[in-house]
Amino acid sequence: MSSLRIPLSPSASFPLAGKRDESSPLIQVAGLCKHYPLVGGGTTPVLHDIHLAVAPGEFVALMGPSGSGKSTFMNILGCLDVPNAGEYQLAGQSVAQMDHNELAVLRNRQMGFVFQGFNLLQRSSIAENVALPLLYAGIGKAERRQRAHELLEQVGLVHRAEARPNQLSGGQQQRVAIARALANRPPLILADEPTGNLDTQTSGEIMALFNRLNVEQGITLLLVTHEPDIARYARRLVRFKDGRIVHDGEVNV
C-alpha cells in the first residue's frame, strides 16, 4: 500500500489506522506559524515555526500553560483555523490548498472532535446528535439510525438514545460526544481538554474509553490537557510554551 487514499464511503473502515509504518505520518506539520492581528495595527504571534509529525495509532498529549498556543495548534490541526505560514499535511494531503468545502469534508470524514464543553445540540436527542456527522456525510435515515445505535452501544448509552443532552450527566454527555466523533469512523480524534469539566472518577472513565479506542481500534488521539494525571494516559507528550514546542517525547509528568 504505497499511496494513501481517503475512503469515499465513511462506512468503510479506514484501512491504515494503527497499522501504518512510522515513515508515513498521519499528521505532518512543518514551519507552521500563526499570528493574530491586533486592533490598531500590528500582530500578536501565537505559533512560531512548529514542526511535528504524528504517526497513525499514536496517543499524544499536548500540554502547556494558557496562551502557549496549544489550542490554536489544535484548531489548525482540526481544519477549523488556517495557519499564516507553513505546511500541514493530513493523511498525505496538503490542507493549505483546500477550499472551505473540502475542509468541511475532511472534518467530516477524517477526524472527530471532543470538546471540553461537550458541544452537543440541546434541541436534538442523543441519537440525533450522534448521527449528525452521518447526516452531513449524506447517509440515509435507516443507516444513520443503525449506526447511531451501534455507536451508543460502544459508549454504553443505548438506553438514553431518546434523551436530551441536558438530561444526562457531564460524563454521559462526553461519552455521547465521543460517540459522535466516531460516527464516520475517522482515523483521528482531536480532544480539547475533554475532562476539564468532569470530576476525577468520571475523568478516569472517559480516559479509559479513549485508551480503549486507541488500543483496540488504532485511532490516533491528540489530547490537549492541563492535568498531569490525564496526560499520563498518553504515550507521547508534546509541551508548548510561548508558541513553540519545548518538549516532544516520553510522558514525564
Partner: protein, 407 residues
C-alpha cells in the same frame, strides 16, 4: 445534508421558540391575508363591471340626434329631433351592422287593477332585445308585424311585475298605460343595475309605432330618441361608425364642412374604461397589501438575524463535524421559507375568511380566485427566500473557529 432531513431540522428549530415563531409568522399571516383579501375585493369589483358590460350587450354604437339651438342657445345633445325611423330603416342595409334598434321612450303611468306605477316606456323594434342581449323569462317577444300594425302589446321588466302583479302571473293580463289597454305578452329577464346605477328592470317595452302614434303624441312624426346599433364584430366597429356617418350625412343632405346633426358613441369603449378602472383598483389594492407583506418579510429577516447570532455556537458545532457552507445556508434558508409558507397558508385561510366576511357584511361581490391564492403564496415564498438569504449567508460565512468560541 440530505434534502428530506433538512425540513425536519428547520421545523424543530422553529418549534424551539414558539412565541417568537408565532409573532414572526403573524407578520406573514397579515401580509398574505391582506393580499388575498384585497385581490378578492378588486376581482369582485372587476367582475361586477364585466357582468354589467355583458348585460349591456357588446359591439354597440349609440346614434343620438345632435343638439338643437333655441335663439342661439345650444341645448344638450339629443334634444334635436333629427333621427327618424326611416334613418334606422336605411341603416339596416349597411353590411357592417348586424342589428339596428331605434328607440322612442317617455315616462308614463301604468295601472293594473287597483295598483299603479310610474315608469319609462320604451318604443322599440324586435332588434332591441337582440342588441341588448336581453332574453325573456316567459312569454313571447313581439314581431315586426306588431310594430307595423301598432298593436297594443307589452313586454314588462321584473320591477313592473313586482309592483303591479306581486305573485300573480302577468302573462296574458291587460295593463293600462296612460289609460290605454296593453296585453302583457312577455316578461323580461332580470338585468340589475346599469353601469350608471339605473334600475334596468323598471321598464316596459312596446312596439315603436304604437308608442309614437298611440301612446305619446309626437311633435315630429317618425322621429326617434336614439338608435342603438350592433356592429358585425369588434373589428367592424370603426367601419360601422364611418358607414353610419356617411349614410346619415347623405340622408340629411349635409354639405361638406357642415357639422353633423347626430353623434355616434361607442358604448363598448365606455364599458372598457370602467373595466380598466376596476382592474387598476385591483392592482392598487394588491400593491397596498403587498406593503404589509414586505413589512412581514423584514420581520422575518430581523428574527433570522437574531437567530443566527443566538445560534452561532450551534453553527460552529455543525461546521466542526462536517457541515459545509451550503448545508448551513440551506438550513437557515429553509427556516425562513418554512416561516413564510406556514404564515402564507394561515394568511390565505384568513384572507378567504375575511373575503367571506366582507361579502356578507358589506354585500359586496368578492371573488377569491385560485390565481390570487397562488400569487400570494408565491409572493410569500419568495419573500422568505429573499429576506432569509442574507441571514442564512451570514451564518454560512462564519469562521468555524470563531463560531465555536462564541458564548
Amino acid at each position: 445534508m440530505s434534502w428530506h432531513a433538512a425540513p425536519a431540522e428547520a421545523w424543530r428549530a422553529l418549534g424551539a421558540n414558539r412565541l417568537r415563531t408565532g409573532l414572526t409568522m403573524l407578520g406573514m399571516i397579515i401580509g398574505v391575508g391582506a393580499v388575498v383579501l384585497m385581490l378578492a375585493v378588486g376581482e369582485g369589483a372587476r367582475s361586477t363591471v364585466t357582468q354589467a358590460i355583458n348585460e349591456m350587450g357588446s359591439e354597440l354604437l349609440l346614434v343620438s340626434p345632435g343638439t338643437s339651438s333655441s335663439g342661439g342657445l345650444r341645448l344638450s345633445s339629443g334634444t334635436a329631433s333629427t333621427l327618424t325611423l326611416k334613418d334606422a330603416e336605411a341603416m339596416t342595409q349597411l353590411p357592417t351592422l348586424s342589428a339596428v334598434a331605434p328607440v322612442f321612450y317617455s315616462g308614463a303611468q301604468l295601472a293594473y287593477g287597483p295598483r299603479n306605477w310610474n315608469t319609462t316606456v320604451y318604443g322599440v323594434t324586435p332588434d332591441y332585445l337582440l342588441v341588448r342581449s336581453w332574453n325573456l323569462e316567459s312569454g313571447q317577444p313581439f314581431m315586426i308585424s306588431d310594430v307595423l300594425r301598432s298593436t297594443r302589446v307589452a313586454l314588462i321588466g321584473q320591477q313592473i311585475v313586482q309592483s303591479l302583479f306581486g305573485d300573480q302571473d302577468p302573462l296574458g293580463q291587460t295593463i293600462r298605460i296612460k289609460n290605454l289597454p296593453f296585453r302583457v305578452i312577455g316578461v323580461l329577464e332580470r338585468k340589475g343595475q346599469s353601469l350608471d346605477g339605473r334600475d334596468q328592470d323598471d321598464v316596459v317595452l312596446v312596439p315603436i309605432n304604437t308608442a309614437q302614434t298611440k301612446l305619446f303624441g309626437n311633435l315630429f312624426p317618425g322621429t326617434v330618441r336614439f338608435i342603438t346599433v350592433q356592429a358585425r364584430s369588434m373589428g367592424h366597429m370603426e367601419d360601422a361608425e364611418a358607414d353610419i356617418t356617411q349614410l346619415l350625412r347623405n340622408r340629411h343632405r349635409l354639405a361638406e364642412g357642415v357639422e353633423s346633426d347626430f353623434t355616434i358613441r361607442d358604448l363598448t369603449a365606455v364599458a372598457e374604461t370602467a373595466a380598466q378602472s376596476a382592474q387598476a383598483m385591483t392592482v392598487m389594492l394588491g400593491a397596498i397589501a403587498s406593503v404589509s407583506l414586505l413589512v412581514g418579510g423584514i420581520g422575518i429577516m430581523n428574527i433570522m438575524l437574531v437567530s443566527v447570532t443566538e445560534r452561532t455556537r450551534e453553527i460552529g458545532i455543525r461546521m466542526a463535524i462536517g457541515a459545509r457552507r451550503r448545508d448551513i445556508l440551506l438550513q437557515f434558508l429553509l427556516e425562513a421559507l418554512l416561516l413564510c409558507v406556514l404564515g402564507g397558508l394561515v394568511g390565505t385561510l384568513m384572507g378567504i375568511g375575511g373575503a367571506w366576511l366582507v361579502s356578507g357584511l358589506a354585500e359586496m361581490t368578492v371573488i377569491v380566485t385560485s390565481s390570487s391564492i397562488a400569487l400570494s403564496f408565491l409572493f410569500a415564498a419568495s419573500t422568505g427566500v429573499f429576506f432569509g438569504f442574507y441571514p442564512a449567508r451570514k451564518a454560512a460565512l462564519l469562521k468555524p473557529v470563531e463560531a465555536l468560541r462564541h458564548e
